[in-house]
């Protein structure tokens, strides 16, 4: 113990009060919160079921088609197809589908929440000054800390895993939306203002389209962070590839841990390729045009 450190307030009783307060919230609102997130849980389970119901080549074709639509390049498309095939080859297909479902749903929700926050941040110095340190804290706080309150509220399962993943993965999309909008050429914004565009018209016709490459980079990072969270989230019942890694640790089986890890790497490359090639194509077309 650090002897002689001035005791400014009683941290132990503060901690007790905090725990008690949170316990009360759990007791009083736990069920309500669970009811609120029931639709999200249903969507997650539904997506997982659909991915598993589809034949493996159906998922492979869908991902390849997505890759082609995003990149318009055959190299990327073929690479994505081959890597998807590898996921099946190394025997982690079912776990990978669960992981994709968790990642896609949490990324979608993160974007849905993060975009408006990023936009709000870009509109004022004060909002940015308040939000930036919060984002810093969110990104440096050890991930495990997030698990505690969510598990207390919902019990182990998919919903706390999803929420913890969102909290962990949301900062990049907020940051880069803010940055992208702030970097839009001030003269272009002034020009549309001179033509009588309202703030909303400026936002949707100029700022968001021109910030799109940055926003996409943010979404890409958010996706990657969501994926990196799956191992940890599996500790509270997320299932999927992360759970197999956890099992590998518990049973001391290198092989099952390694295969699941490889599966995560493959998923990361697949989604990164798709998102990046789309971002690059977009940036290129904007450069050509400006």
């Amino acid at each position: 113990m650090a002897d002689g450190f001035p005791e400014l307030f009683d941290i132990r009783s503060f901690g007790r009060a905090m725990d008690q307060g949170f316990n009360q919230i759990v007791a009083n609102y736990g069920e309500t919160l669970e009811a609120i997130f029931l639709p999200v849980l249903k969507a997650l389970v539904m997506m997982e079921k659909v991915l598993l119901w589809l034949p493996w080549w159906g998922v492979l074709l869908a991902l390849a088609a997505l890759a082609y639509a995003a990149s318009r390049r055959w190299t990327v498309t073929v690479a994505v197809a081959v890597m998807t095939f590898c996921i099946g080859v190394i025997g982690v297909w079912e776990q990978a589908m669960a992981t994709i479902a968790l990642m896609v749903i949490s990324t979608l929700l993160a974007v849905l929440v993060g975009l408006p926050i990023g936009i709000a941040m870009s509109r004022g110095k004060r909002m940015q000054a308040v939000t930036l340190p919060i984002l810093d804290i969110m990104q440096t706080m050890p991930i495990f800390v997030y698990l505690i309150p969510f598990v207390m509220l919902f019990g182990p399962g998919k919903i706390p895993a999803l929420l913890a993943t969102i909290v962990f993965a949301i900062p990049p999309v907020i940051r880069l939306t803010n940055l992208g909008i702030r970097q839009v050429d001030a003269e272009t914004v002034e020009a549309v203002r001179a033509f009588g565009a309202s703030p909303l018209q400026i936002l949707f016709s100029v700022q968001i389209p021109l910030a799109m490459p940055a926003i996409l980079a943010g979404i890409n990072q958010t996706t990657m962070m969501a994926l990196s969270m799956v191992v940890i989230a599996s500790m509270i019942g997320a299932g999927g590839l992360g759970y197999q890694v956890l099992q590998g640790i518990q049973r001391l089986e290198i092989s099952s841990g390694l295969m699941a890890g490889l599966g995560i790497v493959l998923l990361a490359i697949i989604f990164d390729r798709i998102a990046q090639s789309y971002g690059q194509r977009m940036q290129k077309s904007l450069k050509l045009e400006s």
């Binding site: 002034e190 020009a191 549309v192 033509f195 016709s205 389209p209 904007l286 050509l288 045009e289």
Partner: protein
């Protein structure tokens, strides 16, 4: 004067900084621009500007960089608000407009062309041109029809579906001009609109603007740092230095009677024989000889006749009446003032 003005600028001052009002009080107490910057870190952008701009004229505001001309033009459509003073457009003080009315004013009454074009890079030529119309809520089909007219007018037919990045600078600025004309605004603000263009293209654009103006009779406020451009386009010219208006007048007035040393140095290198009209130099007298010149012709049209004989040459005004004469002495005197 009973003449009504389209735009009146009354006692407009603009100070940039933390506390412009307090700084303005210091300026009114006689503090200069440099001292203000040193003492309180405020920048004096404009100081007590008064301007009267007639409907249908091209009014040029000229000054070097840092003179405040771009700040001044942004006051007309209130992209920048003055620290004090009034800006009246058709008798209405634009500073009293609320957000809604200000947007309507910008959509319908006043439009702007920018030095660096400021086109929307992610939209096609057509989409750029009709941007102002769509913002105003016009049906897209009708807007496209109007847009096609404007694109033809500036000579870009066939490029409707190109993106700005695929066009040359001159073509991009034609898009900027078409965008500004599309809204049918009565007032056109042009902020160094041709300064970023190559000399030949710039001349083309100046001529095109004159053609368009001869047909449409807009009220044009044109900013430039180029005296030749000011003399070519401007019905009236205002010269701005360090945020202070030094002289306002027609081109010949400024050339022949510079208000102070600064203006005199500014106009010293201009080819007066080409910029000054016969009408500006005509004095009372009886013409002798056969040659009669129009008042709007440049003085150099009289050179060969004056070289050949000493007789006064007649100058006729717009109605064909003899307004006065040019003599060798008056012409030489006028040109020798540099």
């Amino acid at each position: 004067m009973t003449q009504t003005y389209k735009i009146r600028v009354e006692n407009v001052s603009k100070i940039f900084g933390r506390d412009p009002k307090a700084a303005l009080a210091q300026v009114q107490a006689g503090m200069g621009k440099d001292e203000l910057l040193r003492q309180s870190d405020h920048v004096l952008g404009l100081h007590d500007i008064n301007l009267n701009i007639r409907a249908g004229e091209t009014f040029v505001i000229m000054g070097l960089s840092g003179s405040g001309k771009s700040t001044l033009i942004r006051h007309f459509n209130r992209l920048i608000e003055p620290t004090s003073g009034r800006i009246l457009v058709d008798g209405v003080d634009v500073l009293t407009l609320n957000d809604h009315d200000l947007r309507a004013f910008r959509r319908k009454k006043i439009s702007m062309v920018f030095q660096k074009f400021a086109l929307l890079p992610h939209k096609t030529v057509m989409e750029n041109v009709i941007y102002g119309l769509l913002v105003d809520g016009m049906a897209p089909a009708l807007a496209r029809e109007k847009g096609a007219d404007q694109i033809r007018l500036v000579g870009l037919a066939g490029f409707e579906n190109h993106f700005p990045g695929q066009l040359s600078g001159g073509m991009q600025q034609r898009v900027g001009l078409a965008r500004a004309l599309a809204t049918d605004a009565e007032i056109l603000l042009m902020d160094e609109a041709f300064s970023a263009l190559d000399p030949l293209i710039r001349h083309d654009m100046q001529m095109q603007l004159r053609d368009i103006q001869a047909r449409l009779h807009k009220t044009i406020v044109f900013i430039t740092h180029d005296l030749d451009e000011a003399l070519l386009l401007g019905d009236h010219i205002a010269i701005l230095k360090d945020g202070v208006l030094r002289q306002v007048g027609t081109g010949p007035e400024i050339l022949m009677a510079p208000a102070d040393d600064y203006v005199a140095r500014f106009v010293r290198d201009v080819n007066r024989a080409r910029s000054v009209t016969c009408g500006a130099l005509a004095v009372a007298g009886q013409p002798q000889g056969d040659l009669v010149l129009d008042a709007s012709q440049p003085v150099e049209a009289a050179f060969s006749a004056l070289a050949a004989s000493d007789l006064p040459i007649g100058v006729r005004d717009g109605n064909g009446q003899i307004a006065g004469v040019l003599t060798r002495a008056t012409v030489f005197q006028a040109l020798a003032r540099a």
